[in-house]
């Protein structure tokens, strides 16, 4: 599973909701959880977000898959909060963290990158008057998401090459070829963007 939740097509109410609305709800939820705090608002918000997954047609497996990515962070945070401030704070903080990660995941799962970049372009539009390259910033977002699986694949190739040559795990022997391959990929991607009219 990628660290960025991948869009899954669908026709649910959540899928059809405007991307701007989904991002606004996500931002509002984050602010509300920080301002309101407490254990029960976190649990109510968590239940609402899990309900959103059900509404979008995703099952428990998808929800758990999203949570699994921050399992260790959540556990460490929960233990620290339990020891330092008690169970209410632990539930409140960990609940808010899990809720927000799940909510962000739900937005990614139900919104295409084109829709997200359109919202980003709209938000950045005022900066265009100041000369900010807003289309490039939006493209940067798309390329970042697109590059995650590519770099993961390059890393797997480097690991396989190390194993094939009987090399033990060495950060340097892993990082240097990965960096070289990533730079080569970046160069090729730049050429492709130019060929597809990026500078036109």
């Amino acid at each position: 599973m990628s660290v960025v939740a991948e869009y899954r097509p669908g026709t649910s109410l959540v899928h059809r909701a405007p991307a701007g609305l989904k991002l606004a709800v996500l931002a509002g939820l984050g602010i509300a959880l920080v301002v309101a705090g407490g254990w029960w608002p976190s649990l109510v918000a968590l239940a609402a977000v899990v309900g959103g997954y059900a509404l979008a047609g995703f099952g428990a497996r998808t929800v758990l898959g999203q949570v699994r990515q921050l399992l260790w962070v959540a556990l460490l945070l929960a233990v620290a909060q339990l020891l330092l401030t008690g169970w209410r704070a632990a539930v409140g903080v960990v609940g808010a963290l899990v809720t927000l990660v799940l909510a962000a995941g739900l937005v990614s799962l139900t919104t295409t990158m084109t829709e997200l970049t359109d919202v980003l372009l709209w938000l950045l539009r005022p900066l265009e008057r100041l000369g900010a390259p807003i289309e490039r910033l939006a493209l940067l977002l798309s390329l970042s998401v697109r590059s995650v699986p590519v770099i993961a694949s390059l890393a797997a190739q480097v690991r396989d090459a190390q194993r094939a040559r009987g090399l033990t795990a060495s950060p340097r022997a892993f990082a240097v070829p990965l960096l070289v391959r990533s730079l080569r990929h970046a160069h090729a991607l730049g050429e492709a963007l130019l060929a597809r009219g990026l500078d036109d």
Binding site: E6, Y7, R8, P9, T112, M113, T114, L139, S142, L143, V145, R146, P149, V150, S153, H185, A188, L189, E191, A192, L193, L194, A195, R196, G197, L198, D199, D200
Partner: protein, 230 residues
């Protein structure tokens, strides 16, 4: 078909000590429908291809596509010339198949309805309809190359340059890409090591050490190339 004129072109790349000459005094005029380019690795054929859409500008000499000098009218040239690279992963820029097809059309400012119609047609033509909303990285190698090709062709270039598009593919996928190329109405310049793909081409150039050393029909050029490599 666009007329491609390459006039006394030389090009070199910087290296640790001095520069490495990759093309020397290349002159050729191309107007045929399907043109093949073959040569050993490092023979200069990839640089030659990149000169034709302005990705690389010549140190000396001139390259004109349909009368547009790549140095002065790069934008016009790139609208005429589509370029398909060896590694599809390096040219698919959007996360999903449909979004990548949409990318080039949106940059050209086409209306939404026309974009949707063109994308639907391309998805059907390239057998990608059932993968439209799938993440591009989950496609097979052949499907990725077909997507890369579709993403270039959807903008309707007059000339398509393909730099070893089948090198990373197995025989079945290479054949699938070959079939697509064979049916194209556009002018095509295909760089390849798979000589069988050049069957039926109008003209084949053989590069060696930065020069065109043979310019002939596919069979004669392939024979020349095999002897050169022997």
């Amino acid at each position: 078909m666009p007329l491609i004129e390459v006039v006394e072109v030389s090009h070199s790349y910087p290296q640790t000590t001095g520069r490495r000459q990759v093309l020397t005094g290349v002159s050729v005029t191309l107007s045929e429908h399907r043109i093949g380019v073959i040569g050993a690795n490092g023979s200069g054929k990839s640089t030659f291809a990149r000169l034709l859409n302005g990705l690389v500008l010549p140190d000396t000499g001139e390259v004109r596509v349909d009368g547009n000098d790549t140095r002065r009218r790069g934008r016009a040239v790139r609208r005429l010339v589509g370029f398909c690279f060896t590694d599809p992963d390096a040219q698919i820029v959007m996360p999903t198949v449909r979004e990548d097809l949409v990318f080039g059309l949106r940059r050209r400012g086409l209306p939404g309805g026309e974009i949707a119609a063109r994308v639907d047609r391309a998805l059907a033509d390239f057998g990608l309809a059932e993968h439209a909303h799938h993440p591009a990285h989950l496609l097979s190698g052949g499907q990725k190359q077909l997507l890369a090709l579709a993403s270039v062709l959807i903008t309707d270039p007059a000339l398509l340059i393909m730099d070893e598009p089948t090198t990373l593919l197995d025989l079945r996928n290479a054949a699938a890409v070959g079939e697509v190329v064979a049916d194209l109405g556009q002018q095509v310049i295909l760089l390849t090591h798979h000589l069988e793909l050049l069957s039926g081409f109008d003209r084949v150039l053989v590069f060696d050490e930065g020069r065109i050393v043979c310019d002939d029909q596919p069979e004669a050029a392939s024979t020349f190339y095999r002897q050169l490599m022997a």
